[in-house]
């Protein structure tokens, strides 16, 4: 976005208010990206902060020719998440199921919806997040960027640094895998719940 470029220029001149605006504009997207990768609120907050600190420190290296600020931001965030994933792989293998559940339960339902809708929406969110957690990082990041962050194939390819064909293939495989995982999870939860979520 042009406004992002203008804000970046102002940031580079030392305008702190421009940085504050950039932060307010993009924090939610990056936080959601982190949350879709980790499934934990506290971890996502820490990761979001780390990503923006990295962005702040490397803002001078942002090249307009390589894409928009949002794409660059997503790429930095994605690389940071992959690093984090590799760093914490061992911890995750030993993490308890309680931890996972508490991470999901921290979500707050919106105030407008009715209680029954809250429960259903919350269950679906929980289901989706747990399904995403089961995917391999390559497939997960492709699905998250395309279907949850609403980037187009070209942008996803830019963020991931792979050809568009590879992105398409990963997204297709990721969706198929997610569909299988969700189906399996619903079968485990019982036919009654599955019927409810189908409706």
């Amino acid at each position: 976005m042009d406004s992002d470029l203008e804000l970046v220029r102002r940031c580079l001149k030392g305008d702190d208010s421009a940085w504050a605006i950039l932060l307010q504009t993009h924090t939610r997207k990056i936080y959601n990206l982190c949350y879709r990768f980790t499934g934990r609120t506290a971890e996502s907050e820490d990761l979001t902060q780390e990503v923006f600190i990295k962005i702040f420190q490397t803002l001078k290296t942002f090249d307009v020719g390589q894409g928009t600020f949002a794409t660059w931001l997503n790429r930095v965030a994605r690389n940071h998440l992959v690093d984090h994933y590799r760093r914490t792989k061992k911890d995750r293998l030993t993490a308890s199921l309680d931890d996972e559940e508490s991470g999901v339960l921290e979500e707050k339902p919106s105030a407008q919806a009715a209680p029954s809708v809250h429960v259903e929406t919350r269950e679906l969110k929980e289901l989706l997040q747990r399904g995403l957690d089961k995917l391999s990082p390559d497939l997960r990041e492709a699905v998250v960027l395309r279907d949850l962050q609403d980037l187009d194939y070209a942008e996803v390819a830019q963020v991931l640094g792979v050809p568009e064909g590879t992105v398409k293939s990963r997204i297709n495989r990721g969706r198929l895998e997610l569909a299988r995982v969700l189906k399996r999870m619903e079968q485990v939860r019982g036919p009654a719940k599955a019927a409810g979520s189908e409706a």
């Binding site: 932060l23 997207k29 979001t48 600190i53 979500e107 679906l124 569909a179 189906k183």
Partner: protein
């Protein structure tokens, strides 16, 4: 088209990105293959689920926290400083306290008999305030001093009265022994009577002087 081929093109099929030939082949396969129809149904549901998934709101303190971690505590602008200074005053309890103070002040002013309508420019001069306060203080002191001396006179008279009333009790005890003189009591029989009358006269004179001094102080007040 085989199962595997359709599986590889499933997303493109659902997003409408297949060309006419591929689309016709996929639909022909789907007509005969229940497994692939189920697979596409599951995939469609995943897409719907992802689209329905709302963004999660980060905690409100996250942006300020990141700001502190990057640019540190930002220097506040003049407007922000002013609003921060007055922020604690924007509370209902302060408005209530101010209203109560105004009410109390108006009650005190009314009770003191001050009329704000008669206030002149000279009344606002601090030198006049000092003069008035000094005068009021001296008057108050003089009045208190006079009241104290008057009180002393009254107590003195009262004590004299008590003293005189206790004196006639001794001759009364001796009275049954003497024969009362015919023709009523004389001054010799009750010598305290004349003294009592003189003290009463003194008391009335003192009361008169007390009233006179009170009147004089009132006059000085009105002046």
């Amino acid at each position: 088209m085989t199962h595997l081929e359709l599986e590889n093109l499933a997303s493109d099929y659902l997003e409408g990105q297949l060309d006419a030939v591929q689309k016709a082949a996929a639909e022909a396969h789907l007509r005969d293959c229940g497994v692939c129809r189920d697979m596409l149904g599951d995939l469609r549901r995943v897409l719907e689920l992802c689209r329905a998934a709302e963004d999660i709101q980060p905690a409100p303190w996250l942006v300020p926290k990141i700001l502190r971690a990057t640019v540190g505590e930002r220097e506040l602008t003049l407007g922000e400083r002013v609003s921060a200074f007055f922020r604690p005053t924007a509370q209902p309890r302060l408005a209530y306290a101010v209203a109560m103070a105004i009410f109390s002040l108006s009650v005190i002013i009314n009770a003191a008999g001050l009329s704000l309508r008669n206030v002149t420019v000279a009344d606002l001069n601090p030198r006049n305030w000092f003069y008035q306060a000094n005068r009021s203080g001296h008057l108050l002191y003089a009045r208190a001093e006079k009241f104290y001396y008057d009180l002393r006179v009254v107590y003195e008279i009262e004590s004299r009265f008590r003293q005189l009333r206790s004196q006639p009790s001794e001759p009364q005890q001796e009275a049954p022994r003497q024969e009362p003189a015919p023709g009523g009591s004389t001054e010799r029989d009750h010598p305290a009577g004349t003294q009592l009358a003189s003290v009463e006269g003194l008391a009335s004179a003192a009361a008169g002087s007390f009233a006179a001094s009170k009147l004089a102080s009132q006059r000085s007040n009105t002046q």
